[in-house]
Symmetry: C2
């Protein structure tokens, strides 16, 4: 089995390069005691970069990888170079049991393809689903999946996402019986595609699952805090997540324009600054970084390509929490029960 105290980090992935990845690791190490890291990438460059982070000297090992997966490389090409790239070798560390999870800021498509080939999907799962946390007005964030791994989904896929998302919410958000909803374009029974209506019927019937199915949720309710798990196909999920990100930035840009439009508003802004900075923190995607592929026999966490040091540390922290909670095993158990109940 995997050694839960080690996290394999693809040190070369991401738009911001090695120095941000190492700074993120060092920051995570300061926040979480007892964590150890396999830093996968160019040995000489990593050794050089570590000079700036003495706090990693006793708890990080370098795993040399001669190659890098490009940011726009196709999954097919990346797969053929799994044995020489930092991304491929980081995932292999999980497969070999050297690490409890792998974290990469690299190309999502390549990461999914490599993780799937190396770790294999759980019984009954065709493709892993990408899950992330969404900020909300409620007591806890909401889990949302799938966020782009599965462009088209049938009813059974959606039901499996519900089971996996609920296991994630129970483990990571400490909820006993998470409220689960399907993303749809209306709340009435007859709304949406056949796949969604069938999934709703199936979830309503599967009363023995450790979740509460609450029906359909619309795009304007995602952040209200009314549900804990939002289930959708990867196309809609990707559109919704990115639209939410874009709209939050749009409103922030308009706010900046408004506050700098006159001397009076500038003064008001300066006075309110401590409050608006709290808000900025709350909305900063770096504070919510770390999506995970669910349905694999092992944990692979996707950090945003543009994540900064804080974002990388957040993703690593999420990975550590998943490892400690043994998330992959809990999902396997729940999926097994689901397959038994519905087959």
């Amino acid at each position: 089995m995997s050694d839960s105290s080690w996290i394999a980090v693809d040190a070369m992935g991401g738009d911001e390069g090695l120095s941000v990845m190492l700074a993120g690791v060092a920051r995570a190490r300061r926040r979480f005691e007892g964590m150890k890291f396999l830093l996968v990438g160019d040995e000489a460059a990593i050794r050089d970069g570590l000079k700036n982070h003495p706090n990693l000297s006793s708890n990080a090992e370098i795993v040399h990888a001669p190659d890098i997966v490009g940011s726009s490389e196709t999954a097919g090409r990346a797969l053929r170079r799994a044995k020489t790239t930092s991304m491929g070798i980081a995932i292999d560390c999980v497969k070999q049991g050297r690490a409890g999870a792998a974290v990469s800021s690299g190309n999502t498509g390549a990461l999914m393809a490599m993780a799937k080939l190396a770790l294999r999907t759980m019984p009954g799962i065709d493709r892993p689903a990408l899950a992330a946390l969404l900020p909300s007005l409620g007591a806890n964030d909401a889990v949302m999946l799938d966020l782009g791994a599965n462009t088209e989904c049938d009813a059974r896929n959606l039901m499996q996402f519900a089971v996996m998302g609920a296991a994630y919410a129970r483990t990571m958000l400490d909820l006993e019986s998470p409220r689960v909803a399907l993303l749809n374009i209306g709340s009435e029974d007859q709304k949406g595609t056949e796949e969604i209506r069938d999934a709703a019927q199936g979830l309503r019937a599967a009363t023995h699952l450790p979740l509460r199915f609450t029906g359909f949720i619309e795009g304007n309710q995602l952040s209200r805090g009314d549900v804990d798990v939002i289930v959708c196909d990867g196309f809609s999920g990707n559109i919704a997540l990115k639209t939410a990100e874009g709209t939050a930035r749009f409103v922030a840009d308009l706010l900046k324009r408004a506050f700098t439009s006159s001397v009076r508003s500038k003064i008001g802004f300066l006075i309110s600054r401590p409050a608006t900075e709290l808000l900025r923190d709350h909305l900063d995607p770096n504070n919510h970084n770390g999506a995970v592929f669910l349905g694999l026999n092992g944990l692979v966490v996707k950090s945003h390509g543009g994540a900064n040091e804080l974002g990388v540390a957040t993703a690593i922290g999420a990975a550590a929490k998943m490892v400690q909670a043994d998330l992959a095993r809990r999902i396997a158990t729940d999926l097994g029960n689901f397959e038994k109940q519905t087959s």
Copy 2:
């Protein structure tokens, strides 16, 4: 042909009732000189309500309708009552040429079904597409369609939406050659569903259309002002639009919390207030109200069910602009050229 100075208003539809509809009509009348209204609904109630709006006395006529379409009524049931309901009769005023456009705040599904049956779709169009304007950081708003009328779309549907959306942008936003993009989950050619990839190929090939196809756009770019027309299937479009609305409200709620979190921040807020009120205006959905069904032989405008007086006036203003610009005819011309070029 239709008399362009008259607008038929379903006075009974919407969550806010007759008084808000009439106040909206009166407000629109003050803003747009020369507009005349057919107020469709319960004659006695409308006559009573008009006492509060003397400015409508000389330019509004009442068209009696004994019945109302319920807010959660199925389209099938509503269709059977087209001849007695305020919604059905308002649409019939367009069909009979008594009005240039109909405006309703009622049930969207019923409105689409009734409009389609009474006005019929243009040649080559299976179902009308719902289009609306999205606020952006650019010089103009962006047109987005479909927003929920067509849950599933093939490549040809998406290409027709592009042609109709471009005609809308040319007419309503005064753009000569609008920039058109397809909503997708990535910008690379191989991303998304087969339907989207085929539509992109078709739009790239159709170089004689009065539009500039710019490729794919992701959810986080909707408000950047980089494109004028955003084309998508009704499911994704509904999810994206509602997610944008919900996120804007979410950020506003967080901002309110931040500003009221301390005496200091409250003072700062009061000082900045004129600036933040401009922002609130800019984001108020009532200032962007008025979606339109494109691809019908006549204009039917959907006002948001929860629109206030300002929102109803905005939707009526949009309808008036569409009538004056002869939008339906311009779309018919462009669609005809498109069918000739691609068949």
